[in-house]
């Protein structure tokens, strides 16, 4: 599990707000558990950052099964934001991650502005958290998620509430289920976000024609994986032109080529999601691949790739 090209002395650092990352490859929330689940397959020290499963104030049991369904080059999930809650996260999950050099970013979710503010305040008092990613976009929970992420005013309100409670870098994670993602991105930028990450999942559905029932117990779920990559890349490109803060690209990234597309489109960093499931070592392959690309192109740093698209 050693990097293929340890001899490259390539500058892979990127900066998100006050946070400096060793490289631009992170794990997307909800697809890498609390890190430990991948420890025997992935060298956690080699990641740019680890973003953990979305955390709420109280533990949540999540939705009834079935929760996941495969679709053409993608998958639908309706996990229902199952998580251990912020207190158990701090006591049971975080200590393990603190033994690594890799920054830990906590994805937070709530059903009210207060929820978000309280979570931010609670995490502010904890050592070893590098940033907060605010999930305003999860489509699986009826209250909360959808409304915040699809309305610029609400999105801004959540952002300022979190901003007021923490000095940590605040990344706001945007929903793709909107007419104008740039408007939302600008709103959260104005409200004090240090960065935006996108996209979260596209709202989708699947039906079992044998039973004539939805395949997911929750009826609708979030579409992720290679299928959504073109939509994600378009939104990242549009958003990177619309805001001055860093943009983190997410959606269907599984290879070095995918990651390069997002960086060229203007992303400062990327998150790997569904690919962690079907190819758990892809995060490391992408770190190696980017390093090799930067080296081969004779670039001074990976930062030279960012926004290098010629339109």
């Amino acid at each position: 599990m050693d990097p293929i090209n340890t001899n490259h002395s390539v500058d892979m650092r990127v900066t998100i707000g006050d946070l400096q990352l060793g490289n631009p490859v992170m794990t997307a929330s909800g697809t890498f558990g609390y890190g430990r689940e991948f420890a025997s397959l992935v060298d956690l020290n080699r990641l740019g950052a680890i973003i953990v499963k979305g955390i709420s104030q109280e533990p949540r049991p999540g939705n009834p099964p079935p929760r996941i369904i495969e679709t053409a080059c993608g998958m639908l999930n309706a996990i229902g934001l199952e998580n251990v809650g912020v207190e158990r996260f701090i006591t049971d999950k975080l200590p393990y991650l603190q033994q690594f050099d890799t920054p830990v970013i906590v994805n937070v979710l709530g059903e009210s502005i207060d929820d978000y503010a309280n979570l931010a305040a609670r995490l502010e008092r904890v050592e070893g958290i590098a940033a907060v990613e605010v999930n305003i976009s999860c489509p699986n929970v009826r209250k909360g998620g959808v409304a915040f992420g699809t309305d610029a005013t609400m999105a801004a309100a959540v952002t300022s509430a979190v901003r007021q409670q923490t000095r940590l870098p605040v990344i706001v994670k945007l929903s793709p289920n909107v007419t104008d993602v740039c408007a939302i991105a600008r709103a959260v930028e104005d409200a004090g976000a240090d960065a935006v990450s996108l996209i979260n999942t596209l709202l989708g559905m699947s039906i079992d024609i044998k039973t004539r029932k939805p395949r997911l117990a929750n009826v609708v779920g979030g579409l992720s994986g290679p299928a959504i990559k073109p939509v994600a890349l378009r939104m990242v490109w549009q958003t990177a032109k619309a805001v001055a803060i860093p943009v983190i690209g997410i959606g269907g990234i599984g290879t070095t080529e995918d990651a390069l597309e997002f960086l060229m489109a203007g992303a400062t960093a990327v998150q790997v999601g569904t690919a962690n499931f079907y190819h758990p070592t892809s995060v490391m392959d992408i770190v190696d691949g980017l390093e090799q690309y930067v080296h081969e192109q004779g670039m001074a740093s990976v930062r030279a790739v960012i926004n290098s698209l010629q339109v």
């Binding site: 558990g33 099964p65 996941i68 569904t274």
Partner: protein, 261 residues
């Protein structure tokens, strides 16, 4: 617990019926670490469709670093795998999950329905090498028709087990449900190991509960990761919330889950 990702190579392909295939795969790290009841996640090809890995019980383990999986063609993933020939590479992650409790505390019985038979063979193999190596322990195997049962029944017999079979069409053994064979055995045993369709496992679980006998079930749910990360593989747990089949299972004590599903 340590999982490995191995690029395994198919060394043998057996066609039990046109629909049931057994692949033997060279995967030395996984084979060495595997315990009965654990499973692997297999990538069915290089492309992105099908996207997700498929879970398969570890069916046999051999001392030459190979392991076998036994599967039925269900959809596009298993159809692709069924067409693979020796020499083909198959990416495996494993061994995954919590296997069977290997201390039955006395006489036991294994019950397998359909492809649920797969993990039981590895369990049977393992008991042969343990203190529970008495002959003629009962193994109950059920399927729709004799074709997919013949070879497997013989293999359990060769290990020294006493095999009883049941088929829906009566072409081999008892005509009817394999669970019907359990009644006479129940009072002689301390532990049941069962894997098969949910209705079958429910029947066995309830019979065991009534008889006060321990029952271990091996569950199936849709899985995206097999690693405990996606939280997709839930099964309702006794006392509220959910079990995650890939981590808490696939083998669970029958009383840990709710059988009303």
């Amino acid at each position: 617990m340590t999982e490995f990702q191995e690029k395994s190579t198919i060394t043998l392909r057996e066609t039990l019926t046109p629909e049931v295939i057994r692949l033997t795969l060279k995967a030395p790290k996984i084979a060495a670490a595997a315990k009965p009841g654990q499973f692997v996640m297999a990538r069915t090809g290089e492309g992105l469709d099908p996207l997700l890995r498929r879970p398969f019980s570890i069916h046999r383990v051999h001392s030459d670093g190979t392991l076998a999986i036994l599967f039925k063609i269900i959809g596009k993933g298993t159809r692709l795998m069924a067409e693979m020939n020796p020499g083909t590479a198959l990416s495996l992650i494993g061994p995954l999950g919590k296997g069977f409790n290997l201390d039955p505390q006395g006489p036991f019985c294994m019950i397998g329905g359909g492809m649920g038979i797969a993990p039981l063979y590895f369990l049977a193999q393992t008991f042969r090498q343990s203190e529970y190596r008495e002959n003629n322990q009962p193994v109950l195997l059920g399927s729709q028709t004799q074709a997919e049962l013949l070879l497997l029944a013989e293999e359990f017999s060769e290990l020294g087990y006493s095999v009883l079979t049941a088929t829906d069409d009566g072409t081999l053994g008892h005509q009817g449900f394999v669970t019907e064979l359990l009644d006479e055995i129940l009072r002689k045993i301390k532990q049941v190991y069962v894997c098969g369709p949910i209705p079958m496992m429910r029947t066995v679980a309830l019979k065991c509960r009534d008889a006060g006998i321990a029952c271990q079930v091996s569950l199936e749910t849709h899985m995206a990761c097999g690693l405990g990360a996606c939280l997709g593989c839930t099964f309702p747990a006794t006392g509220g919330g959910y079990k995650h089949v890939c981590k808490d299972g696939p083998v669970l004590s029958a009383d840990e889950v709710i059988w009303t599903l």
